[in-house]
Symmetry: C2
Subunit: 285 residues, 2 copies
């Protein structure tokens, strides 16, 4: 799935959705001498943060304009990064370049979110562009193996992590959000499209309401990529917000897939975890 390391000679196109990740990737590229050019998606990409970088504004559906701009900027490699709420068809502005490939986009739309992104990605590949993942473009943003916090998983947490991995393994073929909360061996919550923050909020509520009786400090959030996921487009992400949610849910820690999980801001995340006494650990898969 992973492409080779990006070429030093040509700048890298960063198709930038919402959140902080596009800028973290762009900074990482810059630091390693790969001049990034950002293609900021209107309505989702942060218009203030983008100013620090060479950029163009685009809208979803401007496939023709995109390929022209990428060629003009001499970008051979590109990366899709940042959040992207699945657009309503009515919001999409189609240009002629897009209409030409509409059939293929349409079939991508009808699959899961993964298929949408990988379907669009495939179109660019057919035009000769090379798609990079965070693994290629900014490997320093990935979770390492083992503990990154003062706290570590105890026997109870290790058993919960093992249980969580089993459940995620069973769910993996189904293109579902890949996180679960396991407390003392019980699977108390499974993530759907609502996302990890909402899953953790729910667990906090259930604990407050007495539906979950286990003492605080028991339980683990386990988060892994789906096996159906193209890891270039859609790695799971954790950050200090995940830690805040896990702490509010009374968990002992967070376990994610080492090498296949993006840490939004590692320093902030580790500080938040250490302050709350939570562990954060990267699992070998």
């Amino acid at each position: 799935m992973t492409a080779a390391a990006p070429e030093n000679s040509s700048p890298i196109g960063v198709i930038a959705g919402g959140g902080v990740m596009p800028f973290a990737v762009a900074d990482s590229l810059k630091a390693r001498g790969h001049g990034p050019v950002l293609f900021a998606l209107k309505g989702v990409c942060d218009p203030v943060a983008i100013e620090r970088f060479r950029h163009h504004w685009i809208t979803v559906g401007q496939y023709g304009r995109m390929t022209k701009l990428l060629r003009a900027e001499k970008c051979k490699d590109l990366i899709f990064i940042g959040t992207l709420v699945r657009p309503a068809l009515s919001e999409i502005r189609l240009d002629w370049g897009t209409l030409r490939v509409m059939g293929r986009i349409w079939s991508a739309f009808r699959g899961g979110d993964d298929h949408l992104l990988s379907g669009v990605g495939r179109l660019f590949e057919q035009e000769g562009f090379r798609l990079l993942g965070v693994k290629d473009a900014a490997p320093d943003l990935l979770m390492p193996e083992g503990n990154v916090t003062h706290a570590a998983a105890d026997q109870n947490a290790l058993a919960d992590i093992a249980r969580g991995r089993e459940v995620l393994g069973a769910l993996s073929p189904f293109d579902i959000g890949q996180a679960v909360v396991v407390i003392d061996g019980h699977v108390v919550g499974v993530e759907g499209v609502e996302g990890t923050d909402e899953l953790l909020r729910r667990i906090a509520e259930l604990r407050k309401g007495g539906r979950i009786r286990a003492p605080a400090g028991h339980g683990v959030l386990v988060k892994t990529p789906k096996s159906t996921q193209d890891l270039r487009y859609d790695l799971p992400t954790v950050g200090s917000r995940t830690i805040e949610g896990a702490a509010a849910a009374g968990l002992s820690g967070v376990a994610v897939a080492a090498g296949n999980t993006i840490v939004a801001d590692a320093q902030a995340m580790i500080e938040a975890a250490d302050a709350a006494g939570l562990f954060v650990t990267g699992l070998r898969f």
Copy 2:
């Protein structure tokens, strides 16, 4: 798992938790000439509705008192029915009969909720009582096979139902709440300990917030028993509240396991579904 039909000669003990189900079961028994004696769990069983029936008040943990009362009432068969929030250990009043079997209760406590009930059930079986399920005691309360509504599942809904069954099959070994929402082939929500009503509320929110874009009238709630579940203790239940939740979530209908799902009040449920244009269907397993 199912016991034989209850004996006509002796009354049936109904250990009555919260909700309307204990009274529905008691009415069903009465109608078929099995005099029920209710053992109402303090704090959860409805103190008004119980007045219509011969009853005793008990608290969780009064195992010794329970077995004495059951023998005094000549109940050989008994059924556990109604909601029961997992009690905190500190809330349980233990009597000597309970303390004698505490080791076994304690190990039941450490499993999932299913194990708690089936563990306690096993104690009664060891004393010579026979445990009935709703299947034995009140088969008229179970969902039949096929549609019970005017509306029926279309091709789209049938595909969503098939997908839902696959996911529930994969989750079945893990002792997790057994319901999912599938919309146009995407699994958008998985039930954990929060229950079906909360799952449906979440889907309604996600639709309102635009995170789920599919038009209203697409999507299905699929609900089945766990394969690990002892069907005498803990059948999935649906009712008019399920229908209201499914309608608010913009779904087209509800599919449950025929013969293994309790319908809390069939007439109210079907009226609610027909009014909302939803289908309710019993699946053959």
